[in-house]
Amino acid sequence: MKKHVSMVRFSEHISDILSYGGLVLCIVVFSILSQGRLFNAYNIKILVQAVCVYAIMAMGAIFIYSMGYMDISVGSQVGVYCILCIVVTNKTGSLLAGFLTILALSLICGLINGYVAVMLGLPSIVTSIFLMSIFGGAQLLIMEKLAINSISIEYDMTFFKSTEFMIFVIVVIALISIYLYNYTQLGEYVKSIGANELATSYSGVKTVKWKVLAYVFFGICVAVGAFMLTARTGSAGQGTGTGYAMDIMVALLLGGMPLSGGMKSKMSSSLIGSFTYVILSNGLNLAGVKVEYSYVIKAVVFLAVILVTCRKKDGVLPR
């Protein structure tokens, strides 16, 4: 038992290799099947556009998933943020006002997600279900009040939806996330909370404080992501945002993020995962794969990644 070292190390690396390998495999296979279209300038541009929102939110989500938690309220949060951003911007004529509104709201959500869960001793999934319902309801109510299906922004978003700006935002968020995750207490503690919360608090760490901070940072990322989404489509409606919580979870898993969090969590999972997720559907479309098959292929790729990254601990006594 004590000399498993080399084997343990090897299998640790498998998940590393696979998370990159999945991306590399997707790129290789699809660049062949799409006859090189994967790499033409237009496709690179639309890949970046499609990745942008996922990547920004996934980078924030890494902090939450590292602790072994998850947040399923993202989707409805995004929906409300998009609508509010448009409403406030249209009312005030100031895009900044719109953005600040949703930023403030997202910070409050972060506090609720973090504090309420700890104070009431609830699992974080419960508070996020609670927030999901509240926001889902709010989304319906606002749209009902506005009495239209979909609302469009009147502000000129040309600059904000340019690919250059998107790359800029991804890079900025990535730099901040990498810094926070690898070079500050926040990053260290979210990982150690995921690995062993009790031992972390026995090291004199106020876990509550860091949990809340992690949720707050995630909230900021969600707000920025929602803003970029608004910029990209220029409109939002009752259904906007639906599915994002799941998309982000899938992207992170494809990037090799363990659902249980802990020390194996890596920031790179968010970017690799988002790209893999986007290239997977983009590549299938470029290759002209029929819709029926594309589901099967997505499922197979997903399963393959999960099998390796989320292995069970080896039990001692099989029962």
């Binding site: 099947l33 499609a50 409109s235 599915g243 559907s281 290759a287 002209g288 794969v289 099967v296 393959a304």
Partner: protein, 386 residues
């Protein structure tokens, strides 16, 4: 354990690659079509057209596939399909971008979601779009100039009538005739399908006029999920149900489950399964009415796109793009159903199509100098049962 995982991974890889390879090669063979074969005299130009459908299953999707497969060689077009989202703007934009990226020169869409941003994208990429099975009501009402006035949006043909009240009135007549007393109405949420509320209203108004005695319950919105069984127990005396929302898949199974197939079901949509077997006097006779549009109506956006791509246009093409009606299949009797079963939508057989590939070529100005836009619109009125 390790070994098993490796084997599983290997299998997964092999499976994906072989699936991909299979699909890749099948689309290759299409391009080897022989346009100049006997019969066709016109010189056709090859085009690749993207088709974004609102769903990926059901009889209507199969019918569309069957029809486009049937005419693609003659009209020298290649089709690529994606499944659009009914709720997320960004997803649709990404899918359209994928289509553009894979070389589509024109795109036919069946959903009006994120249309502004999609058009902006198409404009910058020089790709044309047109609609089908969709009234683009949202854009029509709130962004008419930006969408219908856009050079890259060529128009759309609705799923039936743009003002859809006619079907509601026809159902009301039948319901009054049969003398049903307690009637329920189901729709999809009005934010997604505002037209269904109009159908509902027209139905109620007409029924009130024809049979003031009839009791119509408050409308229930189905959230894209099957009807709750409690609805049936809350209304035990109900004898007729008008489901403007897709009844064959969301309502009929619930009726069967509750043993209430004696309720007369009028619905929209057509699945060509239970709704044929149990229509009118057949089977348990639960289905009394159904409505759907012919797959062949895709000819409207298709001709507009082909002409645009060939650089020709009808002499009488209107300045601003239009949305036009098509004559839907309205099935309210056994005779209607007999006729319905001979359509391409039911048989998936190209021989039953309303327009053949040659007909389509004849409707395009670029392949037939005598073709007119009025002719194309008129063709849309020939897609019904009569």
């Amino acid at each position: 354990m390790k070994l098993k995982k490796m084997v599983a991974l290997g299998l997964a890889a092999v499976m994906s690659v072989s699936l991909l390879a299979g699909c890749g090669s099948s689309s290759d063979s299409d391009s080897a079509s022989t346009d100049g074969t006997e019969g066709t005299k016109v010189e056709t130009k090859h085009h690749k057209i993207g088709v974004g459908l609102y769903t990926d299953q059901g009889q209507s999707v199969e019918a569309i596939h069957a029809y486009l497969d049937g005419i693609q060689d003659v009209i020298d077009c290649e089709f690529q399909y994606v499944t659009l989202s009914t709720y997320d703007e960004a997803t649709n934009l990404s899918l359209v971008q994928d289509l553009i990226s894979s070389g589509c020169e024109g795109i036919i869409m069946t959903a009006d979601m994120g249309t502004n941003s999609i058009l902006a994208e198409c404009e910058s990429a020089g790709v044309y779009t047109a609609g089908f099975l969709c009234d683009f009501n949202q854009s029509y009402a709130t962004a008419h100039d930006e969408v219908f006035g856009n050079e890259y949006f060529l128009g759309t043909v609705c799923d039936g009538y743009a003002v859809p009240t006619k079907y509601g009135e026809m159902v009301a007549e039948k319901v009054a005739e049969a003398g049903y007393k307690n009637i329920g109405v189901l729709t999809f949420p009005s934010w997604a399908y505002p037209n269904q509320a109009e159908v509902d209203a027209a139905f109620r108004a007409k029924l009130k006029e024809l049979n003031p005695e009839a009791n119509v319950y408050d409308t229930v919105e189905l959230q894209f999920s099957p009807l709750e069984e409690t609805y049936l127990s809350e209304h035990p005396e109900m004898d007729c149900l008008f489901s403007v929302a897709a009844g064959a898949s969301f309502v009929y199974p619930i009726l069967v489950g509750a043993g209430k197939t004696d309720i007369a079901l009028y619905t929209t949509g057509f699945e060509a399964t239970d709704d044929i077997e149990n229509f009118g006097t057949n089977g348990n006779g639960c289905f009394k009415g159904a409505m759907c549009s012919a797959a062949e109506t895709i000819v409207y956006p298709l001709c507009l796109l082909i002409d645009k791509l060939n650089g020709t246009q009808y002499a009488d093409l209107p300045e601003v793009s239009e949305r036009v009606d098509c004559e839907p299949y309205i099935i309210l009797s056994n005779e209607d159903m007999d006729k319905m079963q001979k359509t391409l939508t039911c048989t998936l057989d190209m021989a039953d199509a309303v327009f053949s590939g040659e007909d389509v070529l004849n409707m395009c100005a670029s392949y037939n100098s005598e073709a007119t836009y009025a002719g194309l619109v008129e063709a849309m009125s020939k897609t019904g049962l009569n």
